[in-house]
């Protein structure tokens, strides 16, 4: 793959353009020799603009001659400024200087008497020409400086764009091997040379290795450099002796992110030496860039993300189906048993059947909770807000949790003129259910759980109060954290500590908040969901007669 870069004019973001071109040049194996090729490039780069600027001056002269000498002499110099400016903006200072001198000479020769001679009789004419030369040189210099600045700006912008693209590609990498591949591609393209990127062994062991085309010998050498105190860079010859490799490690103070290996190729002659120096300079920059982009962090994140994703996918897809299907069969079968007359009449059997149903439902709601928790931790809670009656939400939650609440006395009260709320009903209902669950779990059987839904200046307050264990100040501070469970209850009440965490995430996704109040130990707890009232468009109301 990286060999495909050969002969391609490549982009090198962190070096000035002239170096970029030169560093790409050695990639051309078909050139007779690097030196000759360089010379040719030099002639083309330096000579062509010079010749062309002189030709421009020639063209200006020809034009002026055609128009004739009727042209006022002091206007002639202005025409000669045109080639100077063009040369300055296109090619820089030297061609502009050449154009200025040639222009002054041509003006003197053709347009200042005596004609067809460089001699000047008139002092005024001499001053004219000197003035022209001065103006031409200064404006030529200014123009070429402007050109350089524009180029630098454009270059910097390219560099930023490229780096941005690269870091975006890094961010999109889900596996370490993706990352390595991205870095290899990036470096190969930047250097115009075959480049391999090695990462420390423990990470590679679990990932499939990325083909990098580097010989085993080089790989071993690179592995030996994976130490923070190793030499930062080395040049070694591969075992075939055909090409030279430049190795450089990417390290921060304490960690080694990896080693970059570049095939510099060729015999050790002057050209290769020069190329090595250049590549080394670029690699130094590259390794700094990679550090700046926090390759280490990106790699760690990628492998976490992969594991997380696999687990989540497994659970979301198959696992939850695999777990829920048998539960559906268990609950369904128990529900059929419940309807059979002989079982209904049997005092011993019926409670057993309801136990089966109840436990199946409990397991199912536990799986549901895990799914909710995964949604929350994956930041995948996207509420679909729409106008809803808070009564419906609370009643649905009470209905859905009727089995969990069966041992308690549940009362519910609603304000007379409850406003509507703008929420995702399913999420709020689930949050409400979680709070009901908690109330049932942490208060003694037979005690009262009261649900009150009230309107309060722009808000709807759903409060669930129990007469249970209450909450200490210390516990309160930790409430709402994932997996937090009070010390006192850990061994007594089953649960995973996810309930309030899920509830608060779901409620805040609906622009609401949860408040937990307790008078203290044994004084019960009140959990309130506070939701903003929906804004009803009164003007175009339901219009019912």
């Amino acid at each position: 793959m990286p060999f495909g870069m050969e002969g391609k004019f490549c982009k090198l973001p962190w070096l000035p353009p002239r170096l970029t071109e030169a560093s790409a040049a050695p990639g051309r194996r078909d050139a007779p020799s690097d030196n000759a090729w360089l010379w040719r490039r030099l002639i083309i780069a330096g000579g062509l603009p010079l010749v062309t600027s002189l030709l421009l001056v020639g063209a200006a002269t020809a034009g002026l001659l055609l128009v004739g000498r009727f042209f006022q002499a002091n206007l002639v110099t202005i025409v000669y400024l045109i080639p100077v400016m063009l040369a300055a903006t296109w090619w820089g200072t030297w061609p502009a200087v050449a154009a200025a001198i040639a222009g002054a000479a041509a003006a003197d020769f053709f347009f200042y008497p005596p004609y067809y001679s460089f001699r000047l009789d008139d002092t005024q004419a001499a001053i004219d020409l000197l003035l022209f030369l001065l103006v031409a040189l200064v404006s030529g210099d200014l123009a070429s400086r402007l050109r350089r600045e524009t180029e630098t700006l454009r270059h910097r912008e390219d560099e930023l764009q490229y780096l941005y693209g690269f870091s975006r590609r890094l961010a999109a990498c889900h596996t370490v091997s993706d990352l390595v591949e991205a870095i290899q591609d990036y470096l190969s393209e930047s250097l115009g040379r075959h480049t391999a990127f090695f990462i420390p062994a423990p990470v590679t062991a679990s990932q499939s290795t990325v083909a990098n085309g580097a010989p085993a010998f080089i790989q071993n050498q690179a592995a030996a450099m994976m130490k923070p105190d190793a030499e930062p860079s080395r040049i070694i010859r591969d075992e075939t002796g055909k090409s030279l490799w430049l190795l450089r490690n990417v390290v921060s103070a304490e960690t080694v992110y990896g080693v970059i290996a570049v095939d510099i190729g060729g015999e050790p002659d002057a050209a290769v030496d020069e190329r090595t120096g250049r590549v080394e300079a670029i690699l130094l920059e590259a390794s700094q860039t990679l550090q700046r982009l926090d390759i280490g962090g990106a790699m760690e994140e990628a492998s976490h993300r992969l594991k997380d994703q696999l687990l989540r996918d497994a659970f979301h897809g198959n696992l939850s189906h695999e777990l829920r299907s048998p539960l559906a069969a268990i609950k369904g079968s128990a529900s059929v048993l419940e309807t059979i007359a002989s079982i209904r009449d049997e005092n011993q059997a019926l409670p057993l059947v309801s136990t089966i149903t109840g436990e199946a439902e409990r397991l199912d709601s536990f799986i549901g909770n895990l799914l909710h928790a995964m949604r929350v931790s994956a930041s995948d809670v996207r509420p679909h807000l729409s106008c809803a009656d808070p009564r419906d939400i609370v009643n649905a939650a009470l209905h859905r949790r009727s089995r969990q609440l069966a041992a308690h006395e549940v009362t519910s009260g609603f304000d007379r003129d409850l406003p509507m709320v703008d929420v995702d009903s399913a999420l709020v209902e689930e949050a409400c259910g979680q709070l009901l669950d908690n109330a049932a779990k942490y208060s003694p059987a037979g005690s009262t759980i009261s649900v009150a839904v009230k309107a309060a200046s722009g808000y709807v307050n759903i409060s669930i109060s129990d007469r249970g264990a209450g909450i200490t100040g210390e516990e309160r501070a930790q409430l709402g954290q994932r997996s937090f469970r009070g010390e006192r209850h850990r061994d007594v009440v089953p649960g995973a500590g996810l309930g309030l965490w899920i509830a608060s995430t779901f409620i805040s996704a609906n622009h609401g908040s949860i408040e937990i109040m307790s008078e203290g130990l044994g004084c019960g707890t009140t959990a309130s969901i506070i939701l903003p009232e929906a804004i009803i468009d009164e003007d175009t109301g339901p219009n019912d007669e």
């Binding site: 559906a328 059979i340 106008c387 419906d392 939400i393 339901p542």
Partner: protein
């Protein structure tokens, strides 16, 4: 049901689920159950055996359940009830709009599925022998004379309240989506405004529900729509 036995086609790949559904349906309500374990078998049975009701699981090994729904709906009006594991609200609405008569989310009790099946069958056969009076608990709605009795006393409803009750009554026991209700009650210009529907429902509940704060006749299907229960007992099913 008035018919001697109804043939139910049950398409689900889980044998244990098929087993309890068959047991439940054959023990109660006089159904004959035919089972199919995948979409291909199900479609074939739906074509050749002319079932009175199809119970369709969404997760089939060979084809997605909603494709089966579309295919059956392309030639038949037979009532279809969807079984699914945790279908989200949008999915439920999509299925209902695609022509499903109702859905039941796993895990479910057999009584719930049988109640839905009865409701779907009632609606299906109603079109053939139109009975103008629908009874829902203490309510009786005369669809021809447009009168509503609550505990045998005539009640007065606004036009839109009546329209809402009418649509729900013609789908007695079945869920009706918000869009369906909005389409039916309001002109197209405002039909996407669910606020109006919420307020209309709240007002209607004030009139027909024994306890408007805990509705048991006109019940909400969260995120999907509303359902008019045929009997008050229905909602205590587990």
């Amino acid at each position: 049901m008035s018919k001697p036995t109804n043939l139910v086609l049950l398409i689900d790949d889980e044998p244990k689920i098929r087993r309890f559904i068959r047991a439940g349906f054959e023990l109660h309500g006089g159904f004959t159950v035919q089972e199919a374990e995948d979409a291909a078998e199900g479609l074939q049975a739906a074509t050749f055996n002319a079932p009175d009701l199809i119970i369709l699981d969404l997760a089939l090994p060979d084809r997605r359940g909603n494709e089966v729904l579309d295919l059956v709906r392309s030639w038949s009006n037979v009532p279809i009830i969807i079984l699914s594991v945790e279908a989200n609200e949008e999915e439920k609405v999509r299925l209902l709009e695609a022509g499903a008569d109702d859905y039941v989310v796993k895990p479910f009790g057999i009584a719930e599925l049988i109640a839905r099946s009865h409701a779907a069958l009632r609606r299906y056969f109603k079109t053939a022998n139109e009975n103008p009076v629908v009874v829902a608990g203490p309510l009786s709605i005369d669809l021809v004379n447009r009168t509503v009795l609550l505990n045998n006393n005539q009640i007065k409803l606004t036009r839109k309240q009546y329209r809402l009750l009418h649509v729900l009554a013609t789908h007695l026991g079945l869920v009706v989506t918000h869009d369906q209700l909005l389409d039916d009650i309001w002109s197209t210009s405002v039909r996407k405004n669910i606020q109006y529907l919420r307020i209309l429902v709240r007002d209607l509940r004030q009139i027909i529900e024994p306890d408007p704060n805990r509705p048991r006749l006109l019940v909400t299907e969260s995120g999907v729509g509303y359902r008019l229960q045929s009997k008050i007992e229905d909602i205590t099913l587990s």
